[in-house]
């Protein structure tokens, strides 16, 4: 079993819909939870970062962490075609000098 699991998709939604992305993980030591976005033919870039359990909102994006069930979510409200990308969850045990463990990524396609 992989340490971090993600549904690979693709997830196709109409413009304006809510996109819901999920990750599950097995390592209880993970405390920092990152979401990276990767456009085609580009390197990943950090989208959101959450420490421990709880919610974090940034504009149209909301990240949720439930450490008790080892479940990570990312929601995109009012999705736009420019949100079409692969989304990778990446938990880490610590912040400094962090080693990230990436999920396989979920490809999202937002259709106009």
């Amino acid at each position: 079993q992989k340490e971090v699991e993600q549904d690979p998709g693709p997830l196709s939604v109409p413009e304006g819909a809510i996109v819901s992305l999920n990750c599950t993980y097995s390592n209880s030591a993970f405390q920092y939870f990152m979401w990276y976005r990767q456009y085609s033919r580009k390197g990943p870039e950090l989208l959101m970062y959450t420490y421990s359990s709880g919610n974090k909102e940034d504009g149209r994006f909301t990240a949720q962490v439930d450490k008790s069930s080892k479940y990570i979510s990312l929601f995109i409200r009012d999705s736009q075609p420019s949100d079409s990308a692969t989304y990778l969850c990446a938990p880490s045990e610590k912040a400094a000098g962090n080693k990230l463990t990436f999920g396989g990524g979920t490809r999202v396609l937002v259709k106009p």
Binding site: V4, Q6, P8, Y32, M34, R41, K42, G43, P44, E45, L46, Y49, L88, A90, S92, A95, A96, G97, N98, K99, L100, F102, G103, G104, G105
Partner: protein
Amino acid sequence: DVKVTQSSRYLVKRTGEKVFLECVQDMDHENMFWYRQDPGLGLRLIYFSYDVKMKEKGDIPEGYSVSREKKERFSLILESASTNQTSMYLCASSASSGSSYEQYFGPGTRLTVT
């Protein structure tokens, strides 16, 4: 803006060749990383370095080595390329303090070994 550059976007090599992938960052970051990315497997860590001349194995170091002679440069070496090393290779860097959780990635090198 942080910039991480990689020496080539596309590379085609033959089986058995020695391959060098170069990565340079311009933000004076202490940490540098090499990943490979394959469909369905996500990014897997090959090697990382916390300082000049320091290196640590990641999850899949077999068949690879690295070199970090200068802080800004981190090289990945395939001693004898094999077809199962055909992949997208991504370099990243991060600071050791402050927002050190954020890794900045280069655009990637797509390596094909024939």
